[in-house]
Symmetry: C2
Subunit: 204 residues, 2 copies
């Protein structure tokens, strides 16, 4: 095995370090966050940090640096209170990843890709059309991580659209049936096949 | 598509809801956290919420409810300041998932499974032997998520062991070469194959 020390981590070239550290947490969720500005401009951006926070109330979180490209998403969430989470699947991988490019706030990524927006049930933020799993989210709170000025944004799931064939009898959503992707590092994508479910464990 | 409203989410049976909400964020990282209590008892527990927080300094976070089985891990981290993150790979899936069973703090999961601990470079917490990617972590801070009393625990990567064949020239760690797993929901496991890397995106 290769050992990389604290000191080596500090001294790597910037690009080497971001590739390494972004890969070393494991596989990440692959989502497009849809928002609309108070001026009505739609935004869609790839995020790999959407994480389960709690089931009751149903809440998800995601992380962002205050200075990144994702600021449009944050500004829109703060001004409207709403956003959508849409799962990236095999047939939109390239367009989904392209939303990481730094477009100005007045340009919609929906106009620069083959991704299309759709509106449902009078929810104010755009969903990504044809995503097999779409969540309507409402902003709840945020936490500041002091050691690096990162913000954790917490939202509540207020509605959920799921392709019928993914939803199993016990509530499990089988992501692999929709060829939903996972992210390795900054720019690696895989489309997993479910291998097994082990069920609830009790002490031996 | 099936639409599930806010009201339906609130009224589902507990088990249905936790399956659904735990599946709907997308694929999750699959890690074993290794700790040792101040009395010297080793603990190892599966976590699916390890998330990248920042690259400089290199930091990861994970979530826990104050009242869950994972409390042993949290208590050990708080009393010693150190822990390890070890990636779950194909050949230890079943033992790794079994560490979610609720064992008392005086019982080590290393004694109840075929997982073995190892110590390296005088680091005080146990690594999981044969994990293809092992991180030595130091506790940094925590954030409380007020809306559901969840805690986000933040740690700094102070050392990293990676199987030589996973580490690519630009720092990317190819998780699929080691058959590292990803988690779907509470108990579903997949072992992805890397499909593609798209690289850094600029506006069209």
């Amino acid at each position: 095995m290769t050992y990389i020390s604290n000191e080596q981590l500090d001294n790597f070239h910037h690009l080497y370090r971001i590739n390494l550290i972004n890969s070393c947490s494991g596989y990440k969720s692959a989502n497009l966050l849809g928002t609309k500005s108070s001026e009505g401009i739609e935004n869609v951006a790839v995020f790999s940090s959407i994480t389960h926070i709690g089931s009751n109330p149903p809440m998800l979180g995601f992380f962002l640096r205050p200075t990144t490209v994702m600021r449009n998403t944050y500004d829109n969430i703060k001004s409207t209170g709403f956003y959508t989470v849409n799962h990236i699947h095999e047939s939109i991988l390239e367009d989904a990843h392209h939303t990481s490019a730094k477009y100005d706030a007045h340009i919609s990524e929906f106009d620069k890709t083959n991704l299309h927006s759709e509106y449902k049930n009078e929810f104010n933020a755009p969903f990504v059309k044809d995503a097999p799993l779409q969540l309507a989210m409402q902003y709840v709170e945020e936490c500041e991580i002091k050691s690096n000025n990162t913000i954790l944004v917490i939202g509540k799931i207020v509605g959920l659209y799921v392709n019928d064939d993914l939803l199993e009898a016990d509530g499990f959503i089988n992501l692999s049936k929709a060829k939903i992707a996972t992210i390795n590092g900054l720019d690696g994508y895989a489309v997993p096949e479910l291998k097994t479910r082990f069920g609830y464990q009790r002490p031996k």
